[in-house]
């Protein structure tokens, strides 16, 4: 199978996907009720889409193609409203967060579709351990080459995005010490990591054909990269975000990515070089482990700063673009949260500290997601 053609898309358009946790309202553990939610959502008119995911206690919602932060917020609100109606009829809770804090992965059940069973057979326990919840943001690109250039430009900001969105400190009842433990599960997959350093679609096609010839991959969906091109939509897809605890935060993260993309596209602040990836995994680890307090190594200068400082600096640089894109509200939300709690992971730890019971943490997560 060869690489599909890169579709047309509106430059800097946004699409947001959120994987949500379905929990019971009794002990607040995950509950396999995706099919029930899907049934009740049938016939509801919503922008975008709602679909099942690999384990039955997970559901994914996606917006349509949006042009602005405001549109993302309004579409997410509408979808959330419809989902909450269905959830109330079933007495289940819906929640953000990158992991469920105390679910036992061995108890998860695979959703009934041939593809999910295939994946499950191949990856074994990894696929159940993949009961993790992420936000994906698509950014529209005018051409395939532009997409690759944007992808490698954005790669520098992967640690920033991880630190801001981190919302998975707890795994199977334990505090992992990480801000985003979810990404550790992603890194276990053989084809995770970063895309190869090529900036022309033609060269990417050569790489893809070589991989396809080895029989290791059959399509783009087999790559679990942090950012990957999505030729079918004509977008690049940022995949490192934990699902935030609120839709407002999800929309704000999309707005931040949109501003970064516009800045990178119009000002070309960095000369792309493969060596930029030398500190990549170090930076990414720091972001996962320490969140905004992590160390960021500037790929160009080798300078060390805290991620918090570098994120705040990026907000300042993006101000003009945020105004042009109508994304100021989004960036303001991120800045306020960064200066106050830090991120959702810190919020979750605070609640745990106060309440001492992870089930109560999930209950409050559900309340927050309902707005």
């Amino acid at each position: 199978m060869s690489l599909e053609a890169f579709a047309d898309s509106r430059d800097l358009s946004l699409g947001v996907e959120l994987e949500l946790q379905i929990v019971n309202t009794q002990d607040w553990d995950l509950s396999p009720q995706a099919a029930d939610l899907m049934r009740l959502m049938q016939g509801r008119r919503i922008p975008g889409d709602v679909k099942p995911e690999i384990t039955r206690s997970m559901i994914e919602l996606s917006t349509g193609v949006c042009s602005s932060h405001a549109q993302v917020v309004s579409e997410l609100r509408e979808i959330r409203g419809a989902l909450l109606d269905a959830a109330r009829r079933l007495d289940v809770g819906l929640s953000g967060g990158g992991t469920h804090p105390f679910q036992q992965w061995s108890r998860q059940r695979i959703y009934e579709t041939p593809r999910f069973h295939q994946v499950s057979a191949l990856y074994g326990y990894l696929s159940k351990q993949f009961t993790i919840f992420g936000q994906h943001v698509h950014v529209g690109c005018p051409s395939a080459d532009d997409a690759l250039v944007l992808l490698h430009g954005l790669s520098r900001y992967i640690p920033h995005l991880i630190a801001l969105a981190a919302a998975s400190p707890f795994v199977q009842g334990e505090d992992t010490g990480f801000h985003s433990a979810r990404l550790n599960s992603v890194f276990a997959f053989p084809l995770s990591g970063r895309a190869p350093f090529v900036t022309r679609w033609e060269d990417f096609g050569v790489f893809f054909d070589k991989m396809a010839r080895t029989g290791v991959v059959s399509g783009m969906k087999d790559f679990y990269w942090d950012i990957r091109p999505k030729p079918e939509f004509g977008t690049i897809e940022v995949r490192v975000l934990d699902t935030p605890l609120t839709i407002e935060k999800a929309a704000a993260l999309a707005a931040y990515i949109q501003c970064l993309a516009r800045w990178l596209r119009t000002e070309r602040p960095h000369r792309l070089h493969e060596d930029d990836y030398l500190p990549y995994t170090f930076n990414r680890f720091q972001a996962c482990r320490f969140g905004p307090e992590g160390t960021y190594v500037d790929p160009s200068t080798g300078e060390h700063r805290t991620l918090r400082d570098d994120i705040l600096a990026s907000f300042n640089r993006l101000e003009g673009h945020a105004i042009d894109l109508g994304a100021e509200a989004g960036l303001k939300l991120l800045r306020t949260e960064l200066l106050d709690k830090g991120n959702d992971a810190s919020w979750l730890r605070d609640v745990r500290e106060r309440e001492g019971l992870l089930a109560e943490v999930v209950r409050q997560q559900v309340l927050r997601w309902a707005g």
Partner: protein
């Protein structure tokens, strides 16, 4: 020198030895069933009891004191637990489910009453049997779902409908006893007053239990064995007090669970059935239920019992299936749900005991019908419930959970 004689035991073995023997037999049969079939262990517990009854050790109603205590206490734990799993706000968000709950209970009572009248039973007997047939089995439902690790809408709805129809049944019995006692007898209003007072007393006791548990939970981690024992002690104390004061031993724990769940936001997390200690009581309960049958009873109950079982299953099925769409369930789930409601409850047995205290003559007439129905359903019930969970796709992929 006198000939040596085998030392004589100082007396009969006593209750403790019998209880231990019941425990061993139940546990053995439970494991045997789990090893050789894929059925829930409760089938084995019940079979152990049924086997004992076959050798003439059957349990008759009114029950001996030990059996009554064990059943009261085990049921109290199960009812308290099921009460804490009922989220009343769900009924507000899903009126279809509230309607299902009310109509399946009323429908069951009406259907059973009508069928027994057709079979020429006296109206008072038919009414009493109809009231006792309303509750589904909290014991079977809770135990089988737990053992098999069932999870999903059917499990969730079964829990709610079972807790609620048990509540309706218990309340209906109080009213029924009131009406029967009031019927023309001198001093009837005093009887009524006493009934009212005892219902109010049950409510107060339930509130006290809920409050005590909430207090304990705030200070101790309920997932720890020692805290659970304290909790267990509180529930048993409340039920002991209820029996001593003549309140319903079903109403107090059930109401306490309901109050606890619905007046506080914090999740109530503790080991199901209160860990091992509670597990022992639940096992004994199933063995005792198994021992209820005797050939004489089956002959006396006969056709009326079978008619009761069928009418009851049909009524519950028709209502649950009929309101499936409104309540947001699929047809398959509704079918599974109506099957999970068919096992007849140990609560019915305790209710029969309560009826016996107030109206022994009437209770004696109801007993054969109700007990035969119970006997028929107690072996079939858990297996049917398991199949229902399977039908609804609510069991883990490998069919059973190692717990």
């Amino acid at each position: 020198m006198d000939a040596w004689t085998w030392p004589q035991p100082p007396g009969p073995p006593g209750e403790v030895v019998w209880l231990a023997a019941v425990l061993v037999a139940g546990a053995l049969m439970g494991e045997a069933i789990a090893r050789t079939t894929r059925w829930p262990r409760v089938v084995g517990y019940t079979l152990a009891g049924a086997g004992a009854a076959a050798f003439g050790l059957h349990l008759s109603v009114p029950m001996p004191d030990t059996a009554r205590w064990v059943i009261d206490l085990a049921l109290a734990l199960l009812l308290f637990e099921i009460g804490t799993r009922v989220h009343l706000r769900w009924l507000r968000h899903n009126p279809g489910l509230l309607a299902t709950s009310l109509l399946e209970s009323v429908g069951t009572a009406v259907a059973v009453y009508a069928v027994l009248l057709l079979l020429d039973l006296p109206p008072a007997v038919a009414t009493a049997a109809a009231v006792l047939a309303v509750p589904a089995s909290a014991a079977v439902a809770g135990r089988v779902a737990l053992e098999l690790g069932a999870d999903g809408q059917v499990t969730q709805r079964m829990t709610h409908l079972t807790a609620l129809n048990t509540l309706y049944g218990v309340l209906a019995l109080i009213v029924f006893k009131g009406v029967q006692l009031a019927d023309g007898a001198p001093g009837w209003w005093q009887q009524l007053l006493a009934l009212g007072a005892s219902s109010l007393g049950a409510l107060v006791l339930a509130a006290a239990l809920a409050l005590a548990v909430a207090r304990v939970a705030r200070r101790l981690d309920l997932r720890h064995e020692s805290a659970v024992l304290l909790l267990l002690g509180l529930v048993l104390l409340a039920v002991g007090a209820a029996r001593w004061l003549g309140f319903s031993t079903l109403l107090v724990p059930l109401l306490a669970g309901l109050l606890l769940r619905n007046t506080t936001q914090r999740p109530w997390v503790w080991p199901r059935h209160f860990g091992t200690a509670g597990g022992v009581l639940v096992l004994l309960l199933f063995v005792y239920l198994g021992a209820l049958w005797s050939p004489g009873l089956l002959a006396a109950g006969g056709a009326a019992a079978l008619a009761l079982v069928l009418a009851r299953a049909l009524a519950k099925g028709v209502v649950v299936m009929g309101l499936a769409r409104w309540s947001g369930a699929s047809t398959r789930q509704a079918l599974a749900l109506s099957i999970t409601l068919t096992p007849l409850s140990a609560a019915a047995l305790v209710m029969l005991g309560e009826l016996w205290l107030a109206l022994p003559a009437l209770a004696a007439q109801v007993a054969p019908v109700l007990l035969t129905a119970l006997v028929v359903l107690e072996l079939l019930g858990p297996i049917a419930v398991q199949q229902a969970f399977k039908l609804a796709g609510e069991l883990p992929a490998d069919g059973r959970e190692a717990r």
